[in-house]
């Protein structure tokens, strides 16, 4: 449709989370109405304490066709995972 509003990606910070997480997308005429729409569409069940919206066209994304060169090299480097260390109890939850 020619008169379609722009697409926005919505990020919500939950009650207990420290970071904003992508929850979905929606259409809106401008950023203020995008936040209002996000409030109405994605926080109806008390999900969030903070909303970010960004117009989808401003997101630069990696290309699925470059999956090989981008991600495969890390598959063989298990030593990058900190699973070889014993964590002292005094450290507590990480």
């Amino acid at each position: 449709m020619k008169n379609e509003w722009p697409l926005w990606e919505v990020f919500i910070r939950g009650q207990h989370g420290m970071s904003h997480r992508h929850v979905g997308s929606l259409h809106a005429a401008d950023e203020e109405s995008a936040i209002k729409n996000a409030r109405d569409v994605y926080t109806r069940r008390n999900e969030g304490v903070s909303i970010w919206v960004v117009e989808a066209r401003h997101i630069a994304a990696s290309s699925p066709s470059e999956k090989g060169p981008l991600y495969e090299p890390s598959e063989s480097k298990v030593y990058r995972h900190p699973t070889f260390f014993d964590i002292p109890d005094e450290v507590g939850a990480m």
Binding site: H27, S33, D40, V41, R44
Partner: protein, 250 residues
């Protein structure tokens, strides 16, 4: 009928009838985001209705419940202002009605948060947060559509012209309002009108819309003297289940 009971009916009937009207958009709004937003508003209003009519039933003390008041009264017993029973029309007319009511509702609830009746103050404190959002949303939409395309501007001006004669009733003081004011239960409607005019004037200026130069006001809703022909139709739809299957619940 005590003035206090009647005042509570006015609050609850306004939110009940407008909530029902707005719910008629569910599944029909122009875009899904607006559909959900309107449904949220309708649900907020129905939730407020439960509180106002619940308190009204207690004050009346005749064994009726909020449900009885909502579902088993006939048109002449309703005390909502005429504006909220007006048909939805197009999306612009719905949002214009919403904004004009929200702007009144916000000032009324703000005033009620310092009511001499603690229960009234508590309900108002809960509701005012919801209505603060309603009026922001409806106001922004009125501005967006008013200051939009030639088509949307014309529709919003038509909507304003259509709804304006129903504004006056919200602020027209009668014996019930006078008693609410003198007992400290509810705020002074003439003061509310000043705040309302400032708020609505600013939004209409941003929306490039012209407020009609008329103080004519249709009346008869909040006194129950004469509702529009639309109220009976709303009630047949809203109440038919309880009328057809008395006491039905789930």
């Amino acid at each position: 009928m005590s003035a206090y009971f009647e005042f509570l009916l006015r609050m609850g009937d306004n939110t009940l009838i407008l909530g029902h009207r707005v719910s008629e958009w569910c599944g029909h709004a122009p875009v899904i985001e607006e559909d959900i937003a309107l449904a949220n508003t309708a649900l907020d209003l129905i939730g407020q209705t439960q509180l106002w009519l619940g308190l009204a039933a207690e004050v009346e003390d005749k064994g009726r419940t909020a449900d009885d008041l909502a579902m088993l009264r006939d048109a002449w017993d309703f005390r909502n202002v005429l504006m909220v029973e007006k048909p939805n029309g197009d999306f612009g007319q719905t949002l214009m009605r919403q904004f004009l009511f929200d702007a009144f509702h916000l000032e009324m609830l703000k005033g009620l948060t310092t009511s001499s009746k603690p229960r009234v103050a508590e309900i108002a404190a809960k509701a005012v947060k919801e209505v603060q959002y309603h009026v922001e949303r409806s106001g922004d939409t009125v501005i967006g559509l008013g200051d939009g395309t030639a088509e949307s501007h014309a529709r919003m001006q038509d909507a304003l012209n259509f709804m304006w004669p129903y504004v006056g009733e919200m602020f027209a003081s009668d014996d019930v309002d006078a008693e609410m004011l003198s007992t400290g239960i509810a705020p002074d409607l003439t003061q509310l009108r000043i705040a309302f005019d400032a708020h609505v004037g600013a939004v209409m200026a941003d929306a490039t819309l012209t407020i009609p130069d008329s103080t004519f006001a249709h009346k008869g809703g909040k006194s129950g003297f004469q509702h529009t022909e639309h109220l009976g139709h709303i009630l047949t739809q809203m109440q038919w289940l309880q009328r057809a299957y008395p006491g039905a619940s789930w």
